[in-house]
Amino acid sequence: MPTLTIDNQSVTVPAGTNVLEAAKGLGIVIPHFCYHEALGAVGACRLCAMKFEAGPVKGIQMACMVEAKDEMVVSTVDPVAAELRAHVIEWLMMNHPHDCPVCDEGGECQLQDMTIAGGHSIRRFRGPKRTFRNQELGPFVVQEMNRCIQCYRCVRTYQDYCGGDDFGVMGSRDRIFYGRFKEGRLESPFSGNIIDVCPTGVFTDKPFRFKSRYWDLEEAPSICPHCSLGCATIPGGRYRELQRVRSGVNREVNGFFICDRGRFGYGHTNHPERPRTPLLGGREVSWDEALSALRERIAQTVATHGPQSVALLGSPRATLEANELLRRWADELGCRLQFEIHPQRDRAARTLAAGLGDKARSLEEIRNADLLILIGADPLAEGPMLALALRQAVRAGGQVAILDPRPVQLPCAAAHLPLAPEQLIPALQALASGAAAAFPRQQAIVLEGLIRQLTQSQRPVLIGGADLLGEAGMAALLAAADKLSSPERPCGVMGLLAGPNSFGGALLSPPEADADGLLDAIQQKTVKALICLEADPFSDHPDPARAQLALAQLEYLAVLDHLPTLAVRRADLLLPTTAPAEGSGCYVNNEGRLLPFAPAIAPGVPIRETGHGDHPPRSFSRETPGSQPRPAWAVLADLLNTSIDLIALRHQIEQAFPSFAGLAALPLEGEGLRVNGPGIAPATVAAVPAPASTGLRLLATETLFGSELLSALSPPLATVTPAPFVLLHPVEAETLGLSNGLQLRLTTPFGFASVALRLSEEMARGLIIAPRLRGTALENLVPGGGLLTCSLSREEAP
């Protein structure tokens, strides 16, 4: 811990801290561009000059490039250093177009701030400015290269940190150009990060273009709802419209970056078909009327048919607070409670929550791990920022191995062993026992190599996905990590779950909860009334045909939701809730980390600023249009007749569950807090359905864009969502006489779809892999339900 003196103030910083950061610790912010905490110091912009007056380094130095040492005496106000900083700004501004009035960055532009801070105010250069022709970079990012100050942050983010290879730096001298090497959209699923890191308006958010000034945005720290990782985000809205999402900072989770699904997946908040009014039998009613109708109906049903005739269904989308109130309501009624309608996902999450304990690893720990084995986990599809964490581990010398039937793509080097889905658990057992002899020779060689790597590694982590592993696989994953752990060398685990609060629901779940049992009871009409909290049992059960058949038997369906789901359309009673960016609450991410968030905007129908040439609409009403949605926890509190605020509710949760200790005091912009205690595993183990044995078997999977419910409703992502396709190994394709690119008819138990055939040599044999694509004929292929029978045939000519 070196202690140094900066501007006559003493500061002690952790070893390895650079002097620029050390000064920041004293509140002295020296202008800088190329330095970024996540990207490191490269000394390119030459802006952060300080005078080193005494100590191991002397003279004018770039503070970002100098590690803080004892006895350093540094001046940031030295006239020579200040003169250099002013000159660097002058040089950077030589070619800048000064187009701030039409630049989206205006107001949150580091170049504006640093120009003022750097002391450059009068333009002396009168020569011609260099100009560039811009590129069309696709639906997410707008490029305006004339504004560029060549800090290299974009390329260091895109290439070095995110592993993209289609975008980079071209040219030399004062003609440096950052762009794509050829025509086309940015290919990296993390492309939006160059918007955040660009210190000026070279790369700006395309869907957000010309919508708002930064200072007009309502922003709040939030948590990304598009997978189970819980990345920090900062949604920003104006005129009742959620207009953009940028990355928040959580050093334990996402660091400084987020994926494009999280950044551009917010369209569900503004969705025109979003439920915004309480509806009773299709009729708009007041909240009071709706709530008393619900109370009455439930009381009546319980009175007539007993408490078992009512069931409450929570969801991985709903906050911990809402799920907890649902649990209390179920307690009060004495009725059936379920937090996830997808039986396998439910059981896998509960198994993970029950057994993870101190084997849990955060994304930060994954970035620092030296061996990462992915078993049935496809990070880009099931938790994109995990892929980026794996890349950082590889950059630091770590190794990644993938055991998966799918051709798992990662933005880093990784060894991939294609295994059939039913081989994943045996593979885990082999890793744990050190014996892979039961596998075919070629596979055994790879597994034995991994076993050797495991014995040599210092910080290994096993990563498994709930969809492919299921309950038994999650248990095997945890058991393998236990077996591989010693006190000196623990082996960590990360599980990928379905939703942002899958873990939280699992923690609250009663041991006897059983999604299939619930469906059976509905089918048998034992359960007559179902209340869904931000859940859609019609779409999210892996056997949608069975689910829909059963759900048709319901006498009463009440739904609390903010999405235009099938359940919302079928509901007898609809209670509109707020979208994540409008609500507050807490998610528990896939490592059991409590992550609170606050509302960025209030719900309401987005204002159309101008339409058809007319001026902003001037209609007046006492109520904001579309402002009826309420946070689900508040609705449930009303139903429970308790008037309670969020903090009080969190205190109650802490008291009821010691494992949530610290929840109420959690700061919004911190790193969250890992829960301090396990959930309860399912009381019974579900029978694993025998995989279909004849013919080709279909594996439904999540995919990066198009599978996840919320982001599938986002217009910017629609343009990058693939058309329906299936993956097949070339050997099978040859046997079937099919070739790459053919348009085929895929028949499954749930219908048929027209799909394009893609061949991949990196997948397991004997399988057809189909992504779930919402809004297409592949919508009803819900992953995680095991293998399906299917057939492929040539499309008949029209």
């Binding site: 250099l84 000159h87 030589m94 250069f125 030399s172 001298r173 004062d174």
Partner: protein, 426 residues
């Protein structure tokens, strides 16, 4: 001058290249035999250090000292790289050497790589030096066939792979860390130091980078001995001979080998035959485009690193460019600065954007549109670029600019006062 000892140019004959037979007839590969038969790698390193050899690429750093930083005794991958990216304007000595006698470099590389215990070595050569590259490839093939290169050289347990790599052709590739990036197939931006190449160089392994002429001196040091080599210089602090290439407003512009420490005046007046057409000497760049100007009153300076530094410039590559009294020094400096601005890799701001700013100011002054404020601004630009850039490129570019401001202020001010270039007749 004809009696000056010839080491590097001993086999040089106009229009001819000496290959293995001719090279061996004049003592070629004797240094290598001596090194491999009689000396340990450490002894070779020590000999080069005692000989006082200083880098001939421009910086003049002690070769022996540089080698002493290299972990020669540490096993594993490490590299010797020869910097043959001779792109300094006015500098053409390495080309002459490789055109005349390529085996010297090959022998020097083998001895040096042996001294450093590097199993792989690269000669990184300027894109335009195709003839030199072919000469080297032929020499390498001959050396391999003769057992001087390859596996178990001269029966020792030391083996060496030697490769020729043609540069993609930018001035920045002469900067040693940019060269290493270029050699790795990356964008040739300089790397930050530390870590120095001796710790993390080519492919992140320990690497030493030496100039062509530096390495070519090594066989002569071994065969002739360190003390003999040191005694070749005319200055007390100097060592060996030096290749001097002349250019500019001289009667003759040859490239010659003369002792280190020879007076600049001898080069200009005797070797160069004096300023062309009997005109007056106005200034010269003593060692390439990035060295500050010297003027007529400094002609008696000895061509060695320390004396030239004391005179306010640098020996650099030892290739002298002379300007006569018809030269506008503003225009000459502008011409030089345009080169540096064009060759900037674009990594750091002072170089990428500062040099174009200097161009703009010099152009304005040269056009007669400059003001006294512009002169003041030129000074503040120079002051803030010198020593502030990421690598030495912009630092070098400021050599001529700094000396222009120091030595020719009257001439600059005349541009402003007259509203035109004073040396232009119309």
């Amino acid at each position: 001058m004809s009696d000056a000892p010839q080491l590097l140019f001993k086999n040089r004959r106009l229009g001819e290249t000496t290959f293995l037979d001719g090279y061996q007839k004049t003592g070629g590969y004797q240094g290598l035999r001596k090194a491999f038969k009689e000396m340990t790698p450490a002894e070779v390193r020590e000999t080069v250090k005692v000989a006082g050899l200083r880098g001939r690429g421009g910086a003049g750093f002690s070769t022996g000292l540089k080698w002493s930083f290299f972990p020669a005794d540490q096993p594993g991958e490490k590299y010797l790289v020869c910097n043959g990216d001779e792109m300094e304007p006015g500098t053409w000595k390495d080309r002459e050497l490789l055109k005349a006698d390529p085996h010297q470099l090959v022998e020097g590389m083998i001895i040096s790589a042996y001294a450093l215990q590097a199993p792989v070595a690269y000669i990184f050569i300027r894109y335009a030096y195709e003839e030199c590259s072919r000469n080297l490839e032929q020499a390498i093939a001959e050396a391999k066939a003769a057992g001087f290169l390859g596996k178990n050289i001269l029966g020792s347990d030391y083996s060496l792979e030697l490769h020729v790599h043609r540069s993609a052709g930018r001035y920045i590739l002469g900067e040693e860390t940019a060269l290493l990036n270029g050699l790795e197939g990356k964008r040739p931006n300089p790397r930050s130091k530390p870590p120095f190449p001796a710790q993390r160089g080519l492919f992140d392994k320990p690497t030493t980078v030496n100039n062509v002429e530096t390495i070519a001196n090594v066989p002569h040091i071994l065969s002739g001995g360190a003390q003999w080599y040191k005694g070749l210089a005319l200055t007390d602090g100097g060592a060996g001979t030096k290749l001097y290439g002349l250019s500019g407003h001289l009667e003759h512009t040859p490239c010659v080998e003369l002792p280190v420490g020879i007076p600049l005046r001898t080069l200009v007046e005797q070797v160069g035959g004096g300023v062309r057409g009997g005109r007056k000497f106005k200034a010269c760049l003593p060692g390439g485009a990035s060295t500050p100007f010297l003027t007529a009153d400094q002609l008696d300076v000895a061509m060695d690193f320390d004396p030239i530094a004391a005179a306010g410039s640098r020996l650099g590559t030892g290739c002298v460019t002379v300007f006569d009294d018809t030269t506008c020094m503003v225009a000459a400096t502008l011409n030089l600065n345009r080169f540096f601005a064009r060759e900037s890799c674009g990594w750091c701001t002072p170089c990428r954007d500062g040099l174009p700013m200097v161009n703009w100011l010099l152009e304005k002054i040269e056009r007669g549109e400059g003001t006294m404020d512009d002169i003041a601004m030129l000074k503040d630009q120079q002051r803030n670029i010198s020593g502030r850039s990421f690598c030495a490129l912009a630092e070098g570019a400021m050599g001529p600019v700094e000396s222009l401001l120091r030595l020719f202020m009257d001439e600059i001010e005349d541009h402003v006062k007259l509203g035109r270039c004073p040396l232009r007749t119309r």
